[in-house]
């Protein structure tokens, strides 16, 4: 949940989410247009540097956020690069790393990294609430938005409930061995599951108390320079894409 914290306090917090969205999408498309490893790496660099610059993220934290994805990347790249071939019998398997597969793995990895950095640019500069407001304007089905809004808020409440209960279990040695851990975890989840209905009931009562029976209604936040920001984003994004086409 590091990302959430940075997203509220960056320098571009008040740039229109639509603009940041457009720029991120153009980043994704540029990454897919990039035909060579250096081209994709360039996209990665553009977004990584931009993010480090405007989101007030230390490069250490940035790497920490990237780490789990890099693990997946390493495993999958290995799988792509590896070639299996069978001989006459089942036991007769040979491994090799043919050069063109190595090359493909490299390209996929850099592209993937470029896309991730583009996504992180959006995630680290734009609070989820702003993104949900944007999705609402883009006519996402009401129910999905409601689930998102309620889910986002409840996330923190449940994180607290789970962490409090887990701490209480630890205080009574609940995670002392693998066997006891699994048992404690089962109790923890069951206990939290029961609170789902309770909390839903409380929220429903609170909504009724403020005359809300139907879909949740929310006021849109206004970003004064949305038009200008989006235009700049569109131009910058197109530039990036054209550069990729020329480079490819």
């Amino acid at each position: 949940m590091y990302i959430e914290r940075f997203s509220h306090y960056g320098a571009w917090r008040h740039v229109a989410p639509s603009a940041k969205g457009i720029f991120t999408l153009s980043g994704l498309s540029a990454a897919f247009l990039a035909a060579t490893v250096p081209a994709a790496a360039a996209v990665t660099l553009v977004f990584a540097l931009l993010t480090l610059g405007v989101a007030r993220v230390a490069w250490r934290s940035y790497l920490l956020i990237l780490a789990p994805a890099l693990f997946f990347l390493a495993l999958s790249a290995f799988s792509i690069a590896l070639s299996l071939s069978w001989g006459d019998s089942w036991h007769d398997v040979s491994f090799s790393f043919p050069p063109q597969q190595l090359e493909q793995a490299m390209l996929v990895c850099t592209r993937s990294l470029a896309c991730l950095c583009a996504l992180l640019f959006l995630a680290l500069t734009t609070p989820l609430g702003d993104m949900m407001a944007l999705l609402r304007r883009l006519r996402t089905p009401e129910l999905l938005i409601d689930i998102m809004v309620l889910g986002y808020r409840s996330l923190f409440v449940f994180a607290q409930v789970v962490s409090d209960t887990r701490t209480a279990q630890m205080a009574r040695l609940g995670y002392i061995s693998a066997h006891r851990s699994l048992r404690s975890l089962g109790m923890l989840i069951a206990h939290t599951t029961l609170q789902l209905w309770q909390r839903a009931g409380q929220l429903h009562a609170a909504a009724q108390a403020r005359s809300g029976e139907g879909p949740l209604r929310f006021a849109d936040q206004t970003f004064p320079h949305a038009g200008r920001d989006s235009l700049i984003a569109l131009l910058a994004g197109s530039g990036l894409n054209i550069a990729m086409v020329i480079a490819g």
Binding site: I65, L84, G151, L182, T193, A200
Partner: protein, 207 residues
């Protein structure tokens, strides 16, 4: 197991999104019907999404000593039904992409397909089947959640194999590669998730 942002080729990313869209749309439609009748259900769905997210972020102690995360969608399907899990899963996967950098936007369709569609439906049907064969409740829960986790990971392997077929062995060889490499982490995880779900349901029954 999430496929990372940008990992699938563009045509595959679009293809999987198109494959998932109707199921999500149907889920939204049928949940909408339900919410109209029971307004409280709207809150429950939101809370359930948060819960699934938190569940997927919980570390579970695995036999190999390393820590892993359960998917929780099989468990969710048993609680809320498989149709609810497609829209809820969409929200959870979106949150994971934006808050944890797990998965991504371009791979959202593929991840929804494996985790919010295949997993929940497998869990639900296996559970139903097990109950028809009069297996004990705990056994049914174990089989349902175990196979949901397993099928999710096999679907992901198939998605990766389709995108990156082995130049010599084709899809089959590639599938074997991905499936066996990810099996290292996924097999024990599926087993533990099944076990954990049994513990949870046993505890729930006694409340």
């Amino acid at each position: 197991m999430h496929i990372m942002e940008g990992f699938l080729p563009a045509d595959h990313a679009i293809g999987w999104s198109l494959a998932s869209a109707p199921v999500v749309a149907y889920g939204v439609y049928s949940l909408g019907q339900k919410v109209r009748k029971h307004p409280e259900y709207r809150m429950l769905l939101g809370v359930a999404a948060a819960f699934t997210f938190i569940l997927s972020a919980l570390k579970i102690p695995s036999v190999t000593g390393s820590c892993s995360h359960p998917t929780g969608t099989g468990f969710g399907a048993l609680l809320f039904g498989p149709t609810a899990m497609a829209p809820v899963g969409l929200v959870v996967l979106l949150f994971q992409a934006l808050l944890l950098a797990h998965g991504g936007i371009t791979t959202l369709g593929a991840n929804i397909f494996s985790m919010a569609i295949v997993g929940p439906f497998v869990a639900y049907s296996v559970f139903r089947l097990a109950r028809i064969f009069r297996l004990p409740f705990g056994m049914a829960v174990f089989l349902a959640t175990f196979s949901a986790n397993l099928m999710t990971y096999l679907t992901t392997s198939a998605q990766l194999a389709l995108a990156f077929p082995d130049p010599v062995g084709g899809f089959v060889a590639s599938f074997a590669k991905f499936a066996s490499i990810f099996a290292l982490t996924q097999l024990p995880l599926a087993f533990i998730e099944g076990l954990l779900s049994v513990l949870i349901f046993n505890a729930l029954k006694r409340f």
